[in-house]
């Protein structure tokens, strides 16, 4: 049962293509698993399409740049396009699977073409980065083994997490497969997992450990980020 969804303004930014690529991938991966958000996205898409293409929005935009392509260019472009063959190759939809801790995990469709780099382990934590160029953001798979935890930490930037397998708990609640969690510098948390878990994460900055001895672990913050 999915209990944590992206907020509506995140879904709106997602539909209009304004979120960074890596964050878009995580939102898309949640939407793929979540019927509720699929309906939301459908609705928002129809609304945005209406405002982009219906006459009402033209009224609001009086005063905007005059828009006209010269007739010649237009006909050239039409000729060029209609000379092309239709794209009938069937769309590749076979799921991509990766081995995590010697178990197979089916990746979300949005990651179909994104290359996963090698796993690096540290105690009960292991992490593999995705090879996706997206400014200062890093996207990874994070695996926490049975009974593992990440010491209490805050996020300097923000961290988006989608739980792909297993479950974990933190001060704010219990999370299960499909849950979407957005944390930022205001949140401090200590995720603990009984059964183990695999998460898709995007972080915009290193995480920072806040308590006692675990501050020695701050280099791990780099590792997880």
């Amino acid at each position: 049962m999915i209990n944590h969804h992206p907020k509506n303004d995140i879904l709106t930014a997602f539909v209009s293509g304004q979120l960074p690529a890596s964050v878009s991938v995580v939102v898309a991966s949640h939407v793929e698993l979540c019927e509720h958000c699929q309906q939301q996205v459908e609705l928002i898409t129809a609304q945005q399409a209406a405002s982009a293409f219906n006459s009402a929005s033209d009224n609001e935009l009086i005063g905007e740049a005059p828009i006209s392509n010269s007739e010649i260019d237009e006909l050239d472009m039409i000729d060029m396009i209609t000379a092309l063959e239709p794209d009938t190759a069937s769309v590749e939809t076979a799921p991509v699977e990766v081995a995590v801790n010697s178990k197979l995990l089916t990746l979300p469709s949005a990651l179909r073409q994104v290359v996963l780099k090698e796993w690096q382990g540290l105690g009960k934590l292991s992490r593999a980065r995705f090879d996706l160029d997206d400014d200062e953001m890093r996207m990874s798979l994070l695996h926490i083994d049975k009974g593992g935890s990440v010491p209490t930490h805050t996020h300097k930037g923000f961290e988006v997490t989608l739980l792909l397998e297993g479950s974990f708990d933190d001060e704010m609640g219990h999370y299960s497969v499909g849950d979407f969690i957005w944390l930022d510098g205001e949140h401090t948390h200590q995720p603990v997992t009984q059964e183990g878990c695999v998460c898709l994460t995007v972080s915009s900055d290193a995480i920072h450990f806040t308590q006692g001895v675990s501050q020695i672990l701050n280099p791990i913050g780099r590792f997880i980020y």
Binding site: A13, T45, L61, E64, A65, P66, P86, R112, Q113
Partner: protein, 223 residues
């Protein structure tokens, strides 16, 4: 410290700045834009179908005339300059031409489908500008074909699903059409009978035969 709301606000502000900057360079248009050509024509959907089925250039030209000024406006807002907005028209309309067969009138309005194509093209363009040589991600993030998942409702397991597809594909044509209609397209037996031009009784018996065959194959390979 970046709160989620602030972050979205920043994104919106950035997008606004871009469009304002683009407009500033222009003369202001004083003509009332609300003319007839700005109404959404009811034929949009039919034009897409004609492009898909008979590669109709006239229908495409109509689509082009309707959408290109609006794509341009969207492009200026998202991409920030006119040259790229023109490129967006070309990318979007090229995909409309090449992928029209993926449009499914039952799943949504023509405008919604074209919006998806346009937003995806714009997203990939922005990525090309920002990071060279990247894969095209947009169609994986926002699939442009509508009926992608109905099969998963039936079979959770992917391997099982794949195997099932193979079995279904090996059925005789007449039975295959019935199984696909009922389970993949979720048509009623009556709808299907009408579509295939046979009595409902025939649909029922083909379905019975097909299912018996599938059960047998599954049973045989499960031990």
């Amino acid at each position: 410290m970046l709160r989620i709301d602030d972050y979205v606000e920043q994104l919106k502000a950035r997008a606004m700045q871009k469009s304002v900057a683009a407009i500033d360079k222009k003369e202001v248009c004083t003509i009332n834009a609300n003319t007839m050509e700005n109404q959404v024509p009811p034929e949009l959907s039919q034009w897409l179908v004609d492009v898909a089925n008979v590669r109709c250039k006239r229908a495409f030209t109509e689509l082009f005339r309707f959408f290109s000024p609006k794509i341009k406006r969207f492009g200026i807002k998202q991409l920030g300059n006119e040259a790229q907005a023109n490129e967006l028209i070309q990318d979007t309309m090229t995909n409309v031409w090449k992928k029209a067969h993926l449009y499914n009138a039952d799943k949504g309005a023509a405008t919604t489908w074209v919006y998806t194509i346009m937003r995806n093209a714009s997203f990939d363009m922005l990525r090309r500008i920002k990071s060279k040589g990247e894969v095209q991600l947009a169609d994986d993030i926002w699939p442009t074909f509508a009926d992608e998942q109905p099969e998963e409702v039936m079979f959770g397991d992917h391997l099982m699903e794949k195997q099932m597809f193979n079995y279904v594909d090996s059925l005789p044509e007449a039975q295959k059409a019935v199984v696909k209609g009922v389970y993949y397209q979720e048509l009623s037996q009556e709808q299907l009978a009408k579509q295939l031009g046979v009595p409902v009784g025939t649909i029922k018996s083909r379905l019975r035969l097909a299912l018996a065959k599938l059960k047998k194959q599954l049973g045989e390979s499960n031990d």
